[in-house]
């Protein structure tokens, strides 16, 4: 599935938030977005998932206009939004429940992923007792189990320590390469963006627009050693310049 | 709106099981029993004794009637009978007349008590022995339609300024409670509240309405039915009245036994009060009339005229529309 976003504009209460965004994803591509806090990244995701309708512009999936259409992508919001009335297991099964997947199968798959996500033993707990990072992991697992071709991840690793984060990185790249899911990824970490992505968009401050679109020239599969290669450092420098120039 | 006969009433029947000898021959014709519904005006009390006696003694069955008694706790018997949800009801002459003047098609078919037994009562220590003493006192009313007009008529007759009498609607509290506080006198039925005072040993002064002005010697209560029932099933009305009449005759002759029947039918009501009240009331059902239930046209004429004068009804109501003796045995 190819996604292309054209001339997108959006405003809240008459104040422009997204000035003009053009953006495209190829099938199976992993693309990251970085940009200053409050610039409109989450807003873009809300537009893509159809939760909000832009003032202007098009969102095309394989050429088909998807403005205001919903249910075509798995979306991990910035807040964890676990339902307090569901146990962790029930929470992560939200997707399969909504798409009316076969229950038994879904439960088995979910359960098999609990250790990987460091949530083993918490299946039947209510989310209230989870630590901040555990909540985020549960939300990520929930998003993953809602299997759509496009995955939108809004800072999925913000509350994770380096180690857990790396584990998650390799897991994410693993399932991504196996399952050919297209990923659009918001992060604040330049390193994370480079390590994971095929391409990176840099957004400017609100009202935002794309100020840079860089290809990451690193081969797949990635490994930690690549983070000291000159290609890596060059991209990093480029991104940092773009971000710092904003001031 | 007159399908009351074929439509079986859905109520849980109050029937005290008929075990009397009279009931023995009933089953043969039980399939042809006419169903009828009788609605009370208040909780079962000695005004109703005849009905319960007739039911218990099987008089209704003998007349071919399968009677159901409905006990509403509140007023409203008149429109229910008029609407055909009940065939007979019990109420006051005032109620029937006002209803008729409003266009509600009901008429009285029997007077339960010949003399009017209500009046103004007050605890003896209030020293109210004549309507003249009402001046400056507080009256506890029940919100009846005719009440204020009657009080004012009385006051005018005794040259008391109506403005000097405070009129408070006391609603649901009883005479004894009300007169403990700010109320000085109240309108009561001697046969019930007055008797309760006797039972309690409280002395009261009673000023009977009928002693103040003969026009107030109207019938209370009366048994009534609707035009529809009276026209379409005269035989039902006749049979009903016959049975009821026998019931009251029994109550007149054997107050003690009648009281027990009422107690059995309404065990929740104070037994002592029923017995005392029955004893007081039994001789008054018929009084010195030739037979139980008979109504004098004069009483109706006079009272209707008074109602008209008091503007409680807007148009005259002809007496043969509101009452009839023709169903009496």
């Amino acid at each position: 599935m190819e996604i292309s976003i054209r001339n997108l504009q959006h405003s809240y209460n008459g104040e422009s938030v997204i000035k003009n965004i053009d953006l495209s994803l190829k099938k199976g591509e992993f693309v990251s977005i970085i940009g200053p806090s409050g610039c409109g990244k989450s807003t873009l995701f809300n537009l893509i998932t159809g939760l909000e309708v832009p003032d202007e512009g098009d969102i095309l999936f394989d050429g088909k206009n998807m403005l205001g259409k919903r249910g075509h992508s798995s979306y991990m919001m910035q807040k964890d939004l676990l339902f307090p009335w569901k146990t962790v297991l029930e929470n992560v099964l939200l997707g399969p429940t909504i798409t009316k997947q076969e229950a038994q199968e879904a439960v088995e798959e979910a359960r098999s992923l609990f250790p990987m996500f460091g949530l083993e033993g918490y299946e039947h707990y209510y989310p209230e007792v989870l630590s901040g990072g555990m909540k985020q992991r549960a939300a990520l697992l929930r998003t993953f189990l809602h299997k759509k071709e496009l995955m939108l991840l809004d800072e999925p690793f913000g509350a994770l320590d380096a180690l857990t984060r790396e584990k998650m990185h390799s897991w994410l790249l693993d399932i991504w390469s196996h399952m050919q899911r297209t990923v659009l990824f918001i992060t604040h970490s330049i390193d994370e963006a480079i390590f994971l992505s095929d391409r990176i968009y840099v957004f400017g401050p609100r009202p935002t627009e794309v100020i840079l679109d860089v290809k990451v020239p690193l081969p797949r599969p990635r490994n930690k050693e690549m983070t000291v290669t000159p290609e890596y450092l060059e991209v990093k420098q480029q991104l940092m310049n773009a971000l710092y120039e904003m001031n | 709106a007159c399908n009351q006969v074929d439509e079986p009433t859905q109520v849980e029947e109050v029937e005290t099981e008929v075990e009397s000898d009279a009931g023995a021959e009933a089953p043969a014709e039980s399939e042809e029993l006419m169903e009828a519904t009788f609605i009370l005006d208040w909780v079962p009390n000695t005004n109703h004794t005849g009905i319960y006696v007739a039911l218990e003694k099987g008089f209704f069955e003998e007349e071919g009637i399968d009677l159901t008694i409905i006990e509403p706790a509140m007023e409203g018997a008149v429109p229910i009978v008029a609407a055909g949800q009940a065939d007979f009801g019990i109420g006051s002459q005032t109620g029937v007349t006002i209803a008729r003047s409003t266009g509600i098609p009901v008429a009285s078919i029997a007077a339960v008590i010949q003399e009017h037994t209500s009046g103004f009562a007050s605890p003896i220590e209030k020293e109210i022995t004549s309507p003249e003493d009402f001046a400056g006192k507080t009256y506890g009313g029940f919100g009846g339609a005719e009440e204020e007009a009657i009080l004012n008529t009385v006051l005018n007759q005794y040259e008391v300024d109506p403005a000097s009498v405070d009129n408070v609607i006391v609603g649901s509290a009883d005479f004894f409670t009300n007169t403990k506080r700010d109320i000085d006198f109240q309108w009561i039925f001697y046969g019930w509240t007055g008797i309760e005072a006797e039972v309690r040993g409280e002395d009261i002064n009673m000023i009977y309405l009928k002693d103040i002005d003969p026009v107030f010697n109207y019938y209370s209560p009366v048994i009534f039915s609707s035009d529809a029932v009276m026209e379409e099933q005269p035989e039902l009305v006749e049979s009903f009245t016959r049975a009821v009449s026998r019931g009251y005759e029994f109550a007149i002759e054997e107050p003690a036994a009648a009281a027990e029947i009422l107690i059995a039918a309404s065990p929740e009501t104070s037994e002592e009060l029923i017995r005392a009240s029955q004893e007081w009331l039994s001789p008054r059902y018929k009084g010195d009339a030739e037979k139980w239930g008979i109504q004098s046209e004069d009483v109706w004429n006079d009272f209707t005229a008074w109602l008209l004068e008091a503007e409680l009804i807007e148009s005259d109501v002809s007496t043969d529309e509101v009452m009839t003796n023709r169903f009496l045995p």
Binding site: - | P79, A82, A83, G95, G143, G171, S172, T177, N178, D182
Partner: protein
């Protein structure tokens, strides 16, 4: 101007619905030929209203006074009780049966007590209205106080916030929507409660007017009173809703001022 227009667009659907309701009623009465002493048509009720309106202001005023004063008292009592229930689970468990008891007494069964203790003035009516209206408020507010966000409370406590500071900065604002739910229910009941309280003993008020109308089979006047009770209740309800909007601006607006 803008407030006016918004007010109109706010009230319009309600007014239309009421009119529709009355029209259906009127038509049904005509179609089934319902006799007027059973269920009078709205037109007859209007008629009766205009014929007798000169009798009404005194009664209306009396009942309104009882309803409003009683409701206010009820709210105060409710807030105090809800607060007491909230501070200890022990108090909550022990108080609730008594609260329930207070709600299960038929007013007219305790009419004698009310009269002996408080006479025939406005006081017993105000008390009855308070008795009826305080309960839904207590139950709602108690639930609201119970369900505050624990972490917000912890935040204020970690700052050294006292019991009262926690209460005012977290628990109370959190309980406000619950409070207004209870107030809406209470407001709805208050006028009818005032009417019923008059049956305990009074010389003025819509309740008295109702009894008198009923005993002279003036069904049309009975319905005039019912309509007035409805109207007053709606008014009170509306005041509560408005107050709710004023006190909880964050529920409707994205910013203040």
């Amino acid at each position: 101007m803008r407030t006016l227009r918004r007010g109109i667009s706010f009230a319009a659907p309600a007014v239309i619905a009421v009119i529709l309701f009355l029209v259906i009623w009127e038509v049904s009465v005509w179609i089934w030929n319902v006799e007027e002493w059973i269920l009078p048509a709205p037109s007859l009720i209007f008629q009766a209203f205009f014929d007798t309106w000169h009798l009404l202001p005194d009664h209306i005023w009396m009942t309104t006074k009882e309803a409003v004063l009683g409701f206010l008292l009820g709210i105060i009592v409710a807030l105090i009780i809800a607060f007491i229930l909230d501070i200890s689970p022990l108090l909550r468990k022990s108080f609730y049966p008594i609260l329930l008891f207070s709600q299960t007494i038929p007013i007219i069964a305790i009419a004698p007590l009310l009269i002996i203790w408080f006479g025939y003035g406005i006081l017993p009516k105000v008390l009855v209205v308070a008795l009826v209206t305080f309960f839904p408020v207590v139950v709602s507010v108690a639930e609201g106080l119970q369900s505050s966000d624990r972490d917000m409370i912890r935040l204020v406590r970690s700052m050294g916030g006292s019991f009262w500071q926690v209460f005012w900065s977290v628990r109370f604002p959190h309980a406000l929507p619950y409070l207004f739910t209870g107030l809406r229910i209470g407001a709805t009941y208050s006028v009818l409660a005032a009417v019923i309280s008059e049956w305990v003993g009074a010389s003025k008020g819509l309740g008295i007017y109702l009894i008198k109308a009923q005993s002279s089979f003036a069904t049309d006047k009975v319905f005039v009173v019912i309509a007035l009770i409805s109207l007053l209740s709606c008014l009170l309800f509306f005041v509560v809703v408005l107050l709710g909007r004023l006190m909880m601006p964050w529920k409707h607006k994205s910013h203040k001022k």
